[in-house]
């Protein structure tokens, strides 16, 4: 993983907290499980690269949880009436669960 303010990739430790603009990369044969504050789960497959989005979006801005730049992720919401997740990709934005509308 690479911290937003850092220049170096370091091995991610189990339970490491992720903050806005941090990046997580998996190598060949690797995987990572990320749990968001609302309980939604994201599993990264091998050779994947994601960036964590801003955790405090501004009014009028579309909400986003992470950006998938490369590879595959699997997401799961066990209470989609209350949870939500959004994934940016270079091509589109994927949203699931409850729609969040900022006033």
């Amino acid at each position: 993983m690479k911290r937003a303010a850092g220049d170096e990739w370091t091995p991610a430790l189990d339970g490491a907290p992720l903050l806005a603009n941090d990046k997580v990369r998996t190598l060949r044969g690797g995987s990572a499980l990320i749990e968001f504050a609302n309980g939604s789960l994201v599993t990264l497959g091998e050779d994947a690269l994601i960036g964590i989005a801003n955790t405090h979006p501004l009014p009028g801005q579309e909400r986003s949880d992470l950006t998938l730049l490369q590879g595959r992720l699997d997401a799961e919401l066990d209470d989609p009436a209350k949870q939500s997740i959004s994934v940016n990709t270079p091509t589109a934005t994927v949203r699931a669960g409850r729609e969040i509308v900022f006033q």
Binding site: T67, P80, A81, P90, T91, A92, R98, Q103
Partner: protein
């Protein structure tokens, strides 16, 4: 220091949000000014116990608190959920009825009840609403592929258009010429085929500085340095500026740079250049001694 119940009530009343009706202003205009929506006049009537549509100038009207925004958000989400629901869904009629009830409660300024009724619409939409929502996203150089596996449909937004992807469906979105937006950086220094004599350091020779021209729209650059003659592994560096300082072992190298957009798209690589590093011999100056 102590407050009487009356004093506390007075403080609460004074801090509650309110709006004063201006001369000639209708209730709809007050609602537009205070809440951004003339249709919120019904809420103001309910909230302030008004029976008619006119209010006297100078009248102070209570405004809803933050619970209104929460209820409005739940309403918008429920409306969208119903509009995107499968028309064949068995629970669509119940969901629509629940939404209608939520709208009525909202008009009556019963915001907590309205939010609960709006949330209830989700339960009726489909038998799969209680399942975990699972989906997968795959990004390659050529496309983004979204597969909905279970639960509720996922929404895919592209160029302002939203498309639902229901469980069992896959949507493939070709990448839109990702490399057309950024041009390849023009390398500046060292010059091609340069021979650089440097002094040895702790981590190799140098460091040397590689520079290239800034590319409009680039959020960073991906630099690749390849040792020639099988002298080692390629070195990949990501930097924010159009320059990099690296310490290398003596030898020959080729290098190239790609511009990287904030979304991760990359330009094509710049034309490669080569350079050679060699270690400058230390100059030892021995002065003539006066001893004989």
């Amino acid at each position: 220091m102590s407050f009487s119940p009356f004093a506390i009530a007075a403080v609460l009343a004074a801090s509650a949000p309110a709006v004063v009706v201006q001369p000639g202003e209708t209730l709809e205009q007050v609602a537009q000014r205070a809440l951004g929506d003339p249709r919120a006049a019904a809420e103001l009537k309910s909230l302030n116990g008004l029976t008619g549509d006119s209010v006297s100038p100078g009248t102070s009207l209570h405004l809803p608190g933050p619970e209104r925004a929460r209820a409005l958000s739940a309403l918008l989400a429920a409306r969208n959920a119903i509009s995107q629901a499968d028309p064949a869904s068995s629970g669509l009629a119940e969901a629509s009825e629940s939404l209608r009830k939520a709208e009525q409660l909202f008009q009556a300024a019963r915001y907590e009840d309205a939010a609960a009724a709006a949330d209830a619409t989700w339960r009726f939409l489909s038998s799969s609403a209680q399942e975990n929502t699972r989906f997968a996203v795959q990004v390659t150089d050529r496309e983004t592929r979204v597969t909905s596996q279970s639960g509720q449909p996922v929404r895919v937004e592209q160029d302002g258009l939203t498309r639902p992807v229901r469980p069992g469906q896959t949507l493939t979105l070709p990448r839109q010429s990702p490399r057309a937006a950024l041009t390849a950086p023009a390398l500046l220094s060292p010059a091609d085929l340069a021979r650089l004599g440097l002094r040895p350091g702790e981590n190799g020779v140098g460091p040397i500085t590689l520079t290239w021209q800034n590319v409009a729209g680039a959020a960073g650059y991906a630099l690749e340095i390849v040792p020639l003659g099988g002298a080692g592994k390629p070195i990949a560096l990501n930097v924010d500026k159009p320059e990099a300082r690296v310490a290398l072992a003596a030898g020959k190298y080729s290098w190239s740079v790609r511009a990287v957009a904030s979304e991760g798209d990359q330009s094509v690589a710049s034309p490669r250049r080569t350079f050679e590093l060699w270690i400058e011999p230390l100059k030892l100056e021995v002065k003539e001694t006066r001893w004989k």
